[in-house]
């Protein structure tokens, strides 16, 4: 039983990381109908930025956080303006390939600047260790959970109660109508990229402080799409619920089935199996809107 619970808790931690990536993805998708494959790379860059500010420059935490957020805003603005805006009105594949190309460029930049090495700054950030009986909850879980909950609460308030949030939701629905109502669509797009980039970078800093950061961290991004699809591409709550479901399922399945399979490695492929099943039986996910098509 303890084995099972420990698997569930580690899975929960993993699921929260998935959710962090998935939230950023959903925000961009909600506003601009663009699929951002590079979201996992934002998290990776965030981790490395945290390393630079906290360790290399030795700045205090609050200053590092502010600087990292400023860097994230700049990154989001630059990417939106230079790479994505020329593609407005282009087919899905163009946008997806653009974000994939972007992800390799980000990976290249990370390799060049930080040498692609494993960096960690354990102990610099405050850690939260919880002990529940025999089970210890890793601080990764608690931190990712806190960030996810704060991010989601903030974003929900933004989407529901502010003017710009309304504009963002409306843009997702129909950009031409929104334009004729006097909303600057380009501002909305830029804002969505900035928010996604900031969420990713903050997540990356926290993760880097707990488990370290390296380039393969970005590949969590690809797995996070299984989460996005399971939760429904346009639901932020769905992203979190599905993140937890998938993280726990993946860990439990791997924990019990891997000893039975000769090659092992079920954890790496499990999200994709879920993805195929979801795509075949419920393409709009658990919480997403069903797609209705017209000619």
């Amino acid at each position: 039983m303890t084995f099972f619970l420990q698997l569930v808790i580690t899975g929960f931690a993993l699921g929260m990381v998935y959710a962090l990536v998935a939230i950023g993805f959903v925000i961009i998708l909600k506003c601009s109908e663009a699929f951002n494959i590079a979201q996992g790379h934002f998290v990776m860059i965030g981790g490395y930025l945290g390393y630079t500010f906290l360790v290399t420059f030795g700045l205090p935490i609050w200053a590092s956080l502010i600087l990292a957020i400023v860097a994230a805003i700049l990154m989001g603005l630059l990417i939106e303006r230079l790479a994505l805006r020329p593609l407005v009105g282009q087919p899905v594949l163009a946008v997806v390939m653009m974000t994939i190309a972007l992800s390799t460029v980000l990976e290249g930049v990370a390799t060049l600047v930080w040498g692609g090495e494993y960096k960690t700054y354990h102990g610099v950030l405050p850690t939260v260790n919880l002990q529940l009986g025999e089970l210890s909850i890793p601080s990764e879980t608690s931190i990712a959970m806190i960030v996810s909950i704060v991010a989601v609460a903030g974003l929900m308030l933004l989407f529901r109660y502010t003017r710009i949030g309304l504009a963002m939701r409306a843009t997702a629905d129909d950009e031409q109508v929104v334009q004729s109502a006097g909303v600057r669509v380009t501002t909305v797009y830029a804002l969505s990229w900035v928010i996604a980039s900031v969420v990713g970078v903050i997540g990356g800093i926290l993760l880097g402080g707990v488990s370290g950061v390296m380039i393969p961290l970005a590949q969590v991004g690809i797995k996070a799409f299984a989460v996005v699809l399971l939760g429904g591409v346009n639901s932020i709550v769905g992203a979190i619920v599905a993140g937890v479901i998938l993280g726990v399922l993946e860990n439990v399945a791997a924990g019990y089935l891997d000893p039975l399979l000769p090659g092992g490695g079920l954890a790496s492929v499990f999200p994709f199996m879920v993805m195929i099943v979801v795509l075949i039986f419920r393409p709009h996910g658990l919480f997403g809107l069903e797609r209705i098509e017209r000619i």
């Binding site: 899905v92 594949l93 972007l102 290249g108 060049l112 090659g263």
Partner: protein, 347 residues
């Protein structure tokens, strides 16, 4: 399709011919003669590069039919290549079947697996289909690792060099001829597939699948047919690749290759047979350039510059093409051709 001024079709056979003018025949024959003569004056290294480019062209042609013509985006093409590669490898290495039996089997197996993973395309499209095919890539790789007893799993599999009627394709030059023959046949076939009823149905599905269905195109048949054809091409390419290296391992078919094949289509031009060739050649040459420039840059700047350059150059090329020439090199080539045909009287 623009033609030089004064080229008229006087009967149906002329109208449907791929090569219409004497100069087109001349260029084609000259190019074939050049390919024949290549092993005479190129080193083994250059022949290797050309062989790999030929194999890549076969794979990208298949992807072009599937993605460029039928609009069903596949980001698992390297996975389908792996299916063909391992089928052919197991048949020749473990069952001692001849290469010319293993190659069609590899093509068919890859096609069948493609059909399975093409099934979701009947319900989903766009980004969702991309995700389903990414899943296909990872699931195929996982299954190959699981079948360790016959595939060798992570250790790889030794594969014999192909042999036809007692002749072993052992030297680089002989294998170059084999690959180039198959590449030329594959190109010819692809150019003709896209002009058939099925090819026109593919284009209709790409442009608007609901409208195509309303017009009486059976989506079930044609989407799956596109997946089948695309994956058959991938299977052939995968088989040729592992027989060339006489070794099959999963590192030959990473996920990023699937992405680069799509990148080649974008650089070359989607929905155009020459586009697939332009794309495969130019991106592969870019890779070669990076392997030459990378070490130099590494010694000047920093040790990791070579790895970084490889990533950034590929990403940047695709980004630049998406922004400045989304229709790819094939379109650029068409405009250049139209320009010089009319020069100096452009109106």
């Amino acid at each position: 399709m623009s033609l030089p001024s004064g080229t008229f079709a006087q009967n149906y056979a002329q109208d449907v011919a791929i090569l219409r003018t004497k100069s087109q025949w001349f260029v084609l024959l000259a190019f074939l003669a050049f390919l024949l003569a290549c092993p005479l004056f190129f080193s083994d290294r250059i022949l290797t590069i050309m062989t790999i480019i030929g194999i890549t062209i076969i794979s990208v042609l298949g992807l072009n039919i599937l993605t460029g013509y039928c609009g069903q985006i596949s980001m698992g093409h390297a996975g389908f290549m792996a299916v063909g590669a391992y089928t052919s490898g197991i048949l020749t290495a473990k069952l001692a079947l001849p290469f010319w039996v293993a190659l069609p089997c590899a093509a068919l197996t890859a096609g069948m697996i493609g059909l399975i993973f093409g099934l979701p395309s009947l319900k989903i499209k766009g980004f969702y289909l991309i995700m389903a095919t990414i899943a296909a890539q990872f699931i195929i790789v996982w299954v190959i690792i699981q079948l360790r007893s016959i595939t060798g799993g992570p250790d790889g599999l030794s594969v014999p060099r192909p042999e036809i009627g007692g002749f072993v394709f052992k030297s680089k030059a002989s294998y170059f001829y084999l690959v180039m023959t198959i590449t030329c046949l594959a190109t010819f076939l692809a150019q003709n597939i896209v002009r058939t009823r099925a090819g026109r149905a593919f284009v209709a599905i790409r442009d608007n699948d609901l409208a195509a269905e309303v017009m009486g195109i059976n989506l079930w048949t044609y989407k799956l047919l596109a997946f089948f054809i695309g994956c058959v091409y991938a299977g052939v390419a995968g088989s040729l690749l592992v027989h060339y290296f006489a070794f099959a391992c999963l590192d030959q078919f990473p996920f990023m290759n699937s992405v680069w094949y799509l990148g080649m289509l974008i650089v070359g031009g989607m929905g155009s047979i020459p586009g697939a060739i332009f794309g495969a050649v130019s991106l592969k040459l870019l890779d070669e350039l990076v392997t030459v420039v990378g070490p130099i840059l590494s010694s000047i700047v920093a040790a990791q510059a070579a790895a970084s350059l490889a990533l950034i150059s590929r990403g940047a090329v695709i980004m630049l093409f998406l922004i400045f020439e989304p229709r790819g090199l094939a379109h650029r080539w068409d405009t250049i051709r139209a320009y010089y045909r009319l020069w100096p009287f452009s109106h």
